[in-house]
């Protein structure tokens, strides 16, 4: 390809990994482009950190404002930063297409860093599509970007650190929470205890968790532990009206107009999948992640991955990986990287930060009903395909996720499988008596985000000065 603007490094995503990488790359003298889907840098964890909206900083807590220094690093970096940019294709010959401001552009790269972060694990259960049910992450985004809190009565249901965090943040904001319905299975506690060594190494995280539990306890909000059979019910208007669940032998029902759900986060692998990078099933985290070398390199020699999109580790891990992986890229491009001693100390910090992961992964492994739903529970939200329907396909001879597309259109709606992919794989594995590794995943095809014909057509008319209009 001639005439394309060329970059040494293109970074996709301006969250903690992308921001840290951008700073390293520009300091090393790489000609760098960072593309981000959001209007402002920060990713989801530090969303809107450039101009925090809440007057009361104690609501989100100090961990959020840590992002300010990363953003300052990005602001000082000498590079090209394009916001509101949707990357919809990466080709094998080191070029990519993105769309911004209604125009598409194609650029070339020597190295590409995917720092596309995580998405919340899809949590299929009866009623999860009702208006009024949304994810804990969504509530946090509304808080960070608009200072909005959910309409009451409010119930929070699910499992994982983010569930406790959003509960604390909303309580601090003065929101009345009717109940926190924790679905962490009893058996998880015993299994997690075997990983207590790592948890002790990561005592700072453990302490944070205990502080959050204490804060919830002191607030007096009802906390239902080991709940099962979660179900959201509609009112006569079709919107969410109540949530029911079982705790022990008792069935509870709570009226609510908002239900926040959460079952952990999983790597956002959509782009890597579409490129055709190798992925592997992580049995402990119950998710797919890209197959990477220790230096962060994917199965394509010029494509690297850092942060949660490489495997869930959280914001601090993402930041460190952004730095170490970029250092590797700098060296591969023949420039002088960091001193070995500096890299060693970053690697040590990384190991320390990751020490608690096995404990958390076993503790917060979702209840089976969310991983392998049954009955009329909708699995594919876009095409409205139920668990029974997906399971029944196996009897009709369907042996893989790509065939389910032809059988019932699952995965073919606008979200392109992001909300049903992992569940469809799990259900097929269940019915086939197989495992997710063997069943595989949907083939994801470009464009990975909807593009208008106008945006496509604009590719043939490159801007005269080579910059994005």
């Amino acid at each position: 390809m001639t005439g394309l603007q060329q970059y040494d490094l293109v970074i996709l995503g301006a969250g903690p990994a992308g921001m840290a990488s951008a700073k390293e790359a520009s300091e090393a003298g790489l000609n760098t482009l960072i593309l981000d889907e959001q209007p402002r840098a920060g990713g989801q964890i530090y969303r809107n950190i450039g101009r925090p909206i809440l007057q009361n900083r104690s609501i989100l807590g100090e961990d959020y404002y840590v992002g300010e220094s990363l953003l300052a690093g990005l602001a000082q970096a000498s590079l090209t930063h394009i916001s509101n940019a949707t990357v919809w294709e990466v080709t094998g010959d080191n070029t990519l297409c993105f769309s911004a401001e209604g125009m598409s552009r194609q650029v070339g790269f020597k190295k590409l860093l995917l720092a596309t972060g995580a998405q919340e694990r899809p949590v299929p259960f009866p009623g999860w599509t009702l208006p009024g049910v949304m994810t804990c992450g969504a509530a946090q985004i509304l808080l960070k970007s608009s200072g909005l809190t959910p309409v009451e009565p409010l119930v929070i249901a699910g499992s994982g650190p983010l569930l406790l965090l959003i509960a604390c943040q909303l309580i601090r904001a003065g929101v009345r929470v009717e109940g926190i319905v924790e679905t962490t299975p009893t058996a998880n506690y015993g299994r997690a205890l075997k990983e207590i060594g790592g948890a002790i190494k990561g005592w700072r995280h453990l302490l944070k968790g205990m502080r959050m539990l204490n804060e919830i306890r002191r607030s007096g909000v009802k906390f239902y532990k080991c709940a099962t059979e979660l179900r959201a019910e509609p009112g006569s208007d079709g919107n969410l009206a109540s949530v029911s669940f079982r705790k022990g032998s008792t069935l509870h029902q709570l009226e609510c107009q908002t239900l926040l759900v959460h079952q952990g986060v999983i790597p956002n692998t959509q782009l890597g999948r579409a490129i055709g990078l190798e992925h592997q099933w992580d049995e402990v985290q119950q998710c797919w992640k890209p197959t990477l070398l220790e230096n962060g390199c994917s199965s394509h020699p010029d494509i690297f991955i850092a942060g949660d999109s490489a495997g869930i580790g959280g914001a601090i891990v993402a930041e460190i990986q952004g730095r170490t992986v970029t250092n590797e890229i700098v060296q591969q491009l023949g420039l002088k990287g960091k001193k070995d001693s500096e890299i060693d100390s970053l690697r040590k910090e990384l190991a320390d930060q990751l020490a608690i992961r096995p404990f958390l992964d076993y503790l917060y492994r979702p209840l089976d009903m969310f991983l392998r739903p049954q009955g009329e529970t909708i699995v594919c939200r876009c095409e409205e395909v139920s668990a029974t329907e997906i399971r029944g396909l196996v009897k009709q001879g369907c042996v893989g996720p790509n065939q389910t597309k032809a059988f019932c259109r699952s995965g073919m709606g606008p979200c392109q499988g992001r909300q049903c992919g992992s569940t469809v794989t799990a259900l097929l594995a269940d019915e086939l008596g197989s495992n997710p590794s063997d069943v595989g995943y949907y083939n994801i095809r470009f464009p990975i985000k909807p593009v208008t014909l106008g945006e496509l057509a604009s590719l043939s008319q490159p801007a005269q000065d080579g910059t994005v209009k």
Partner: protein, 106 residues
């Protein structure tokens, strides 16, 4: 009386106000926020009906993943409300079922 689904606004730092129209009603949004946020503050629910069964849906993930927040924004159907920032005079309506093909905004 219809239920009030309005999300509550906490005390915020100074932001310019933007007037937009949601389902025919003029509402005030804050500069820099997304259409999905403004719509939830306005209390609109559902924000679309599905193409398959016509049931109601509302924003779910707020980060561009789930595509539940598709709305008609300034005449352009199938637009992700959570990925679009409000702008002065914007007109937003519920998307009923599948989008209609036509117009010059393909």
């Amino acid at each position: 009386m219809a239920a009030d689904f309005s999300f509550n606004r906490l005390p915020c730092n100074e932001r310019a106000e933007v007037e937009i129209t949601i389902e025919g009603h003029k509402v005030i949004a804050l500069e820099g926020e997304t259409v999905a946020a403004a719509v939830m503050h306005s209390g609109l629910r559902p924000t679309r009906t599905t193409a398959v069964s016509g049931t109601g849906r509302a924003p779910y993930c707020m980060m561009g993943v789930c595509f539940e927040c598709l709305m008609n924004i300034d005449g352009k159907p199938n637009t992700q409300a959570c990925m679009t920032e409000v702008s002065e005079g914007m007109v937003i309506t519920v998307q009923q079922g599948a989008r209609e093909i036509g117009g010059d905004r393909l």
